[in-house]
């Protein structure tokens, strides 16, 4: 559709000062898409590798953890750690959405604190999970 450039555009995303509530809103969508595609495919891959037998599972684990010399495969580690954070972020902001659905938490201060809390909790849980995994591995 042809647009007359002389006419003003409706104010959109770019005109607002970013706050935690906006960040959490877009993170909920972004992490949701990432989990839906990457994490779900990884879950299917893991289960299919497991169902393929011992050799097939060993290949999957080697790819995801370390090569034969014991060196960590950095890219799979980064993807797994990133998806762990995405999982906890989506979980926390999802719980926040369920609370907001009840009509609670729309006061400016409470809303901002709730948004900040989802990010703090998701980062903390990611660190706890990976600390426990890596401590057991080494």
């Amino acid at each position: 559709m042809a647009r007359n450039p002389g006419r003003p555009l409706s104010p959109h995303l770019t005109v607002w000062k970013w706050g935690p509530h906006m960040l959490v809103s877009i993170l909920h969508r972004a992490t949701g898409v990432a989990l839906s595609l990457a994490a779900a495919m990884l879950l299917v891959w893991w289960l299919v590798a497991l169902s393929g037998g011992e050799a097939s599972y060993a290949r999957f684990i080697d790819l995801m953890t370390a090569d034969r010399s014991g060196r960590l495969n950095f890219i799979p580690f980064l993807v797994l750690a990133g998806l762990t954070w995405a999982f906890f972020q989506h979980l926390c902001s999802g719980v926040r959405h369920l609370l907001l659905d009840t009509g609670a938490g729309y006061e400016l201060r409470t809303n901002k604190q709730g948004a900040l809390a989802t990010m703090a909790v998701s980062v903390a849980l990611t660190i706890i999970v990976w600390a426990s995994l890596l401590m057991r591995a080494f």
Binding site: A40, L47, Y57, L91
Partner: protein
């Protein structure tokens, strides 16, 4: 009731009664995801994840394989509903229809493959 414009053709029919249904299923699967995926993540941390035999033994118990199948159904149902909203927000023409059909293929196909893999491990493990 007109026959010309889109709004004219639907005016007076009332709601399609599909919006609340989508909203409610998204909340329902969010709740089941919260329970089932928390259980799955906790299990993955506790299990010796690199040990093939330990995982086969784990999945040969219905107390692990059944919740895992439920988690797969809940997860793929929830992502099917969520990605539908994303597609509807950003795709407008015929590409929307194509994307929604592909989404259904992905969600149902992915869930079927994952469930088949779980059952294969569960039944093979139970025979040993």
């Amino acid at each position: 009731m007109g026959t010309g414009t889109g709004i004219g053709r639907v005016r007076g029919f009332g709601s399609a009664h599909a919006g609340t249904h989508h909203w409610w299923r998204q909340r329902l699967t969010a709740g089941s995801n919260l329970l089932l995926l928390t259980w799955l993540v906790a299990s993955l941390i506790r299990l010796p994840i690199t040990n093939y035999r330990a995982l086969v033994l784990w999945l040969s118990s219905p107390w692990a394989s059944v919740p895992l199948i439920l988690a797969i159904v809940s997860l793929f149902y929830h992502l099917r509903l969520g990605l539908q909203v994303v597609i509807e927000d950003y795709q407008h023409d015929f590409s929307r229809v194509v994307a929604l059909v592909l989404l259904n293929f992905y969600a149902i196909g992915g869930a079927a493959l994952a469930i088949y893999a779980v059952l294969r491990v569960a039944f093979a493990g139970a025979l040993h």
